[in-house]
Amino acid sequence: MALLELRNISKIYHLGGEEIRALDDVSLDIDAGEFVSIIGPSGSGKSTLMHILGCLDSPSLGSIKLDGTEIGKATQRELAQIRNRKIGFVFQFFNLLPKLNVVQNVELPMIYSGVGGRERRERSVRSLELVELGHRLRSRPNQLSGGQQQRVAIARALVNDPRIILADEPTGNLDTHTGEVILALFRRLSEEGRTVILVTHNPEIAAVTPRKIEIRNGKVATKLGEKLAGLERRPTPVS
């Protein structure tokens, strides 16, 4: 059984009588431990797909199973819990809270899962050390460079030890070099056994991942090198 199972997913928007199919009958599986990129031109529905994968949005039609649980049947509260425990998000615009400093930003997901103060601090510091920002705990987001901010966001995504990392254009706002640093981080996470899903319109970035899912006009176009990628993948047992 795959970690994520999408069956006949459609997302339909109605704009003044006109029907926009942001996703059109998408079915796909993503296994635990996979390193996947979702690629496609602007407006093709990549972000929509990622939001549905991350339980931030619900499809108009079709069903998703995450780790065996039917998402369509989950309550808002359960969805919040899934986002909190099982999924780590990294956004194009970092989405750090500007009034909180670096550690406090990283602590946020643990506040929602009710982790006590001391443990929370320890875990966020560890997570920040992982992205080599252990020395900037007290900085405000606006005192950091773009690359540093994205690393804080990654530390925040990791802090609750989620199985899935979802990143929407994580390098979209960074220069090439910084982007590579961030990509390297994602690769390392994947090697640690996490499921990493990158959304990008940049084929160079997509080239880094063993599996690519190409989206065009809301449909899965081809599954480039899927079989091959699947074979090359390190068989990491994920608990």
């Binding site: 939001h51 949005d57 919040a80 986002r83 989405n95 103060g117 609750n160």
Partner: protein, 454 residues
């Protein structure tokens, strides 16, 4: 979700919009300041009235007044006896529902003199020892009159501390407490020996100030330390206390023999008393007690009703009414201010969540539930209201100081803890209510819309 963090985040949010938050809080500050300030003023009024009431002899004191003979007895007016010792004796003997009957023969236009100093006492009267219980007097030095003084119409007197201050010097001016017992003074030229002096009657506020002044002068020991206070205390603490402190009492018989029997202004001896004050045994039994007294008096006055009773009920009622009215108007003002403050907070919270749609979306993506977001917004609103409330309590102290400067009376406003707690609780409630709508709005935001929002 941990409340401490929620509050911390709320404080940060408020801090990041200092000026805006300050303006928003202003309504609550005004509301709380007026609530606490008003209740302080009312409490001051209440205290002042109660103290004055006690100074005048307490709530159970009934004045037995004279009144013109009623119309239908007009032809008997010549025979109206007025209030005399006969009435007093009769009441003492035959009206068991009365606890005290105190006769008074007031002396008008008396000047008390000692050496080159003189004063017109607030009250100068011939009395019997019942007056102590009647007017709630306490002796500081010496003794009160006894039967011998009464019998012999001795030339003795008991004075209030205000008289001593004028004739012998006030302790805060001359630095020592003088005991005037045994000294001689002149009452309208007749020598009297002081046998006793009452304690100083004062409002709680004055008592505190005196204590403070005493401690200050102790710590600042030395005769020439700092400018001396020139203002006396004589008039401080209101008329009721001043008048009580400048009392001169002499035995009733003395008043009769030495001042009245020689004739009043028109040259006729006048045995009538100027006052008969009574106290009932039990305020609950006020009506029957007065009925009893009236019956006795009707007998001694041969059915001529040239007297009436005046109780303090009316005063008590009017005090209660005044206080109630003041409470009501204060409450309305505070209520409106708090309402306006609440609307301000709601407004600013709505604006704030509009600005923070992305942040809220991010929090939801990180696992915040609707309840988490709801609590966050409500807490912020409450924190805002409470900051306003605390500032308001501080402002109310300034307000009260200002009021004192504006109109220094004995009714010093007193800030009560109850008012403070109450206003803070009210403000918190206002914060909760004001935060509800914005919080519901924020909690309902779809995470995805929140994230896409530019």
């Amino acid at each position: 979700m941990l409340l401490f963090n929620t509050i911390l985040i709320g404080l940060k949010e408020i801090w990041s919009h200092k000026f805006r938050s300050l303006l928003t809080m202003f309504g609550v500050v005004l509301g709380v300041a007026s609530l606490v300030g008003m209740s302080a003023v009312i409490k001051g009024m209440e205290n002042g009235m109660k103290e004055a009431m006690v100074a005048m002899g307490g709530a159970d004191k009934v004045l037995l007044r004279s009144q013109p003979v009623p119309a239908h007895q007009d032809h008997l007016a010549d025979q109206a006896p007025g209030r005399t010792m006969r009435d007093v004796e009769a009441l003492r003997r035959s009206a068991p529902l009365l606890r005290l009957v105190s006769p008074e023969m007031a002396l008008e236009e008396v000047t008390v003199t000692r050496g080159d100093k003189s004063i017109q006492p607030g009250e100068c009267a011939g009395v019997q020892p019942e007056v102590l219980g009647m007017n709630l007097h306490t002796l500081e030095h010496g003794r009160f009159f006894n039967e011998v003084d009464e019998e012999n119409a001795s030339a003795v007197c008991v004075i209030g501390v205000g008289i001593r201050d004028v004739l012998f010097g006030a302790p805060e001016k001359i630095g020592v407490e003088i005991n005037p017992v045994g000294e001689r003074i002149l009452l309208n030229g007749q020598p009297f020996t002081i046998v006793g002096m009452f304690v100083r009657y004062m409002s709680e506020k004055e008592a505190k100030e005196r204590l403070l002044a005493k401690q200050l002068s102790k710590t600042e020991a030395g005769p020439s330390s700092g400018p001396k206070r020139q203002k006396g205390w004589e008039r401080k603490g209101g008329w009721a206390f001043w008048s009580k402190n400048s009392t001169v009492y002499i035995p009733l018989n003395t008043a009769w023999v030495r001042f009245r029997s020689a004739g009043d202004l028109s040259g006729v001896p006048d045995p009538r008393l100027s006052n008969i004050d009574i106290k009932v045994r039990d305020l609950e039994l006020l009506e029957p007690a007065l009925q009893q007294a009236r019956n006795v008096m009707m007998l001694t006055h041969h059915g001529i009703e040239d007297f009436q009773f005046q109780t303090q009920e009316n005063q008590i009622e009017s005090i209660a009414k005044q206080i109630k009215n003041a409470r009501l108007s204060g409450g309305i003002i505070a209520g409106i201010s708090l309402l306006v403050g609440g609307i301000g907070i709601m407004n600013i919270m709505l604006a704030s969540i509009n600005e923070r749609v992305r942040e809220i979306g991010t929090c939801k993506a990180l696992g915040a539930t609707g309840v988490d977001v709801f609590v966050q917004i409500v807490v912020e609103s409450v924190v805002l209201a409470l900051l306003g409330a605390i500032t308001g309590v501080g402002a109310s102290y300034l307000l009260v100081d200002f009021l004192i400067v504006l109109s220094p009376t004995s009714n010093t406003p007193v800030i009560t803890p109850v008012a403070m707690v109450l206003s803070v609780v009210f403000s918190a409630a206002v914060g909760v209510v004001a935060g509800l709508l914005p919080a519901i709005k924020a909690a309902r935001l779809e995470p995805i819309q929140a994230l896409r929002y530019e």
